[in-house]
């Protein structure tokens, strides 16, 4: 099933003021820079204008989509055949990733995709086995700017974790 209809709905949400700026993250964004991999969901990072002590409320998004016949499924909501997860960009790293996302087109539909340096930093921070596999793929494909990556890592206090990851990567691949 094609993703363009899903993105049209998300763009309409933005036009209707339900969400602000957004960017695609996760496996679909990684596909922009790496070989394509199979995935079932579409991660959409969205900005929230909220005070520090407010809790992120995804209610209006779900309400908007439910009114248009889209059904929630666990943490996802299925939009035109794709399970979409809306993730709040609620810290410095995600906010930066959102603001630096690059414009792209998928089947003629305009959208925004996170850059490889931010995808790598988020993967390192999240630290699940599949995130480390993605980091391996980025390194092997050499599809990122090493200086930019170090900047992002340093700003977000992840340089030490990166060095540690590099040691384990070198051991695994020697």
């Amino acid at each position: 099933m094609s993703m363009d209809q899903t993105l049209r709905v998300i763009n309409q949400m933005q036009a209707d003021g339900v969400i602000g700026p957004y960017a695609i993250g996760g496996a679909i964004a990684a596909t922009f820079y790496l070989e394509p991999t199979s995935t079932f969901d579409l991660d959409i990072f969205i900005s929230f204008n909220k005070n520090a002590n407010e809790i992120v409320n995804l209610g209006p998004i779900y309400e908007y989509l439910k009114q248009r016949g889209y059904k929630p499924k666990g943490q996802y909501i299925t939009i035109e055949g794709w399970d979409v997860e809306f993730l709040p960009a609620d810290d410095q790293l995600y906010n930066e990733a959102l603001s630096k996302a690059q414009p792209a087109q998928i089947h003629g539909v305009n959208t925004y995709v996170m850059t490889p340096e931010y995808l790598m930093t988020i993967a390192l921070k999240t630290g699940r086995p599949k995130d480390f596999i993605r980091l391996d793929q980025f390194i092997q494909a050499k599809s990122y700017d090493a200086d930019k990556l170090r900047d992002v890592l340093a700003r977000n206090g992840l340089l030490q974790k990166w060095e540690k990851f590099n040691v384990s990567y070198a051991e695994r691949t020697k």
Binding site: S2, M3, F32, E35, P36, S38, Q140, A141
Partner: protein, 132 residues
């Protein structure tokens, strides 16, 4: 690592890099195809877990309720691939039950009966094993 293995990995990585360099539109089309195929495979009835609405196990005429709500058991595919079970009809499910100590290690000497209701349309015969 052997020289052959090194060569294989090198070729694999070169192919990966080639695919990474494809236009994004083409890569997304491949992702969509892979996803559709995975969903098709996942929708196969053999991969659907059998969900029982209720289950009551009778041993020697005594009812032992095993669960309060719907219970998921193995998918038919898992069952067919199971290494510990043999001679299981393909339309069967296995139910693992824990029995009070008084029934010992074997159910053979007790008349047993299992009553259940399925949410899935699968018709099932029952084979019961005691979990030790």
């Amino acid at each position: 690592m052997s020289e052959t293995m090194d060569k294989m990995l090198e070729i694999k990585q070169a192919r990966r890099n080639e695919r990474a360099l494809l236009p994004y539109e083409e890569k997304i089309a491949l992702v969509e195809k892979m996803r559709d195929r995975s969903l098709l495979l996942a929708s196969n009835p053999l991969r659907q877990p059998v969900v029982m609405k209720s289950i009551t196990f009778f041993v020697d005429g005594q009812a032992l309720p095993l669960s309060d709500g719907p219970t998921e058991v193995q998918t038919p595919l898992e069952l067919r691939q199971s290494t510990v079970q043999t001679c299981i009809p393909q339309n069967s499910v296995v139910v693992f039950v824990e029995l009070p100590q008084q029934y010992g290690q074997s159910l053979a000497k007790y008349p047993t009966q299992l009553q259940w209701a399925f949410e899935s349309p699968m018709e099932a015969g029952a084979i019961c094993r005691r979990r030790h």
